[in-house]
């Protein structure tokens, strides 16, 4: 049951961060995620504590999961577990020790945020680290990244400085989010720079004055956003290439954990 899962992690002293889907829900950038994603401190002793917590909860291995060892956590593999949900549907816990585009776990802890939830206080990855994690191959992640970029200014540590406004603008991938951005931060129009500065300025000025944005400007910015998304998706594909190759090798040599076996 989900109500006992997080207390088990706490009881065993497991160092972890909530990441991905549920983190985006907590930050208000997404409305639904069906599973639990964790970033586990890949230290061997923490790995052992996590395995003990999983056993406490009767967790079972799910598909394509290497042995839960620090060596595989450090290599960037994903680990998948399924837990009984009690009266509710079973739920999935997906774990990484070294998520893509993230720095060290110790650095991520420093910018993490505690969130009060019905499952207790959850230490959640910092919003800016979460933005980097979400730059995946999934198209549907980019509107969520855009929402996170907007939500940054709701965070207690955020300030609408030029650098922060530029960071937010660089992580917006939809015209609707860009509209919301300029409505909330009209001063950012004058900060626009780079190859799309003229189009961004024009877009922002139209939004602020309440005028319809010319279609040509929308098309230009849309193409620019699509191009940036495609580059990030390609970088993510490149990132996973070696890890997937290694996973296939583990599978072909019978080294993956049997699907459904107890942890």
């Amino acid at each position: 049951m989900i109500e006992s899962f997080f207390p088990s992690l706490k009881h065993r002293g497991v160092e972890h961060l909530l990441i991905s889907g549920q983190a985006t829900v907590l930050y208000g950038a997404a409305t639904f995620s069906e599973d639990i994603d964790l970033w586990l401190d890949p230290a061997p002793e923490n790995c052992a504590r996590f395995a003990a917590a999983l056993r406490d909860c009767g967790a079972r291995y799910y598909k394509l999961t290497p042995p839960l060892a620090a060596e595989h956590l450090e290599r960037g593999h994903g680990f998948h577990f399924v837990l009984a949900g009690g009266a509710e549907p079973e739920f999935f816990v997906d774990v990484m020790g070294k998520p893509p585009r993230a720095g060290a776990f110790s650095a991520a802890i420093a910018s993490a945020r505690w969130m009060e939830t019905e499952w207790g206080p959850l230490r959640t990855i910092g919003l800016k680290d979460l933005v980097e994690l979400k730059k995946t191959q999934r198209v549907e992640d980019y509107p969520i990244i855009s929402n996170l970029a907007l939500a940054w200014f709701d965070q207690p540590e955020a300030a609408a400085t030029p650098a922060e406004l530029l960071w937010s603008m660089e992580n917006i991938f939809t015209l609707s989010a860009l509209t919301t951005f300029f409505e909330a931060h009209p001063g950012a129009v004058e900060l626009t720079a780079g190859e799309q500065a003229a189009a961004l300025k024009s877009f922002g000025r139209h939004v602020i004055s309440g005028q319809a944005v010319p279609e040509q400007i929308e098309e230009e910015l849309n193409t620019w956003m699509q191009r940036r998304m495609a580059a990030l998706q390609q970088a993510d594909r490149r990132y996973w290439r070696d890890i997937i190759a290694e996973l296939k090798k583990l599978r072909s040599t019978g080294q993956l954990m049997p699907d459904g076996s107890e942890v």
Partner: protein, 62 residues
């Protein structure tokens, strides 16, 4: 209770249309993180096949 509400395991009501597209309504960001997580998790019971939903995201077909 109106037809477009359901009750979760904690006996709290969740308006389905809100849970499906609350961000557009700009109401979602005004909720507390606690409430957002509660509503999101409650929606899981509406998944016809949770395993398929999980696998689609995690192991996409090339």
């Amino acid at each position: 209770m109106p037809a477009d509400y359901e009750t979760n395991s904690a006996g709290q009501s969740v308006k389905i249309s809100e849970a499906l597209s609350p961000y557009k309504a700009a109401r979602w960001r005004q909720l507390t993180p606690r409430e957002r997580l509660r509503r999101s998790w409650a929606m899981r019971s509406r998944l016809v096949d949770p395993r398929a939903a999980h696998d689609r995201k995690l192991f996409p077909k090339p």
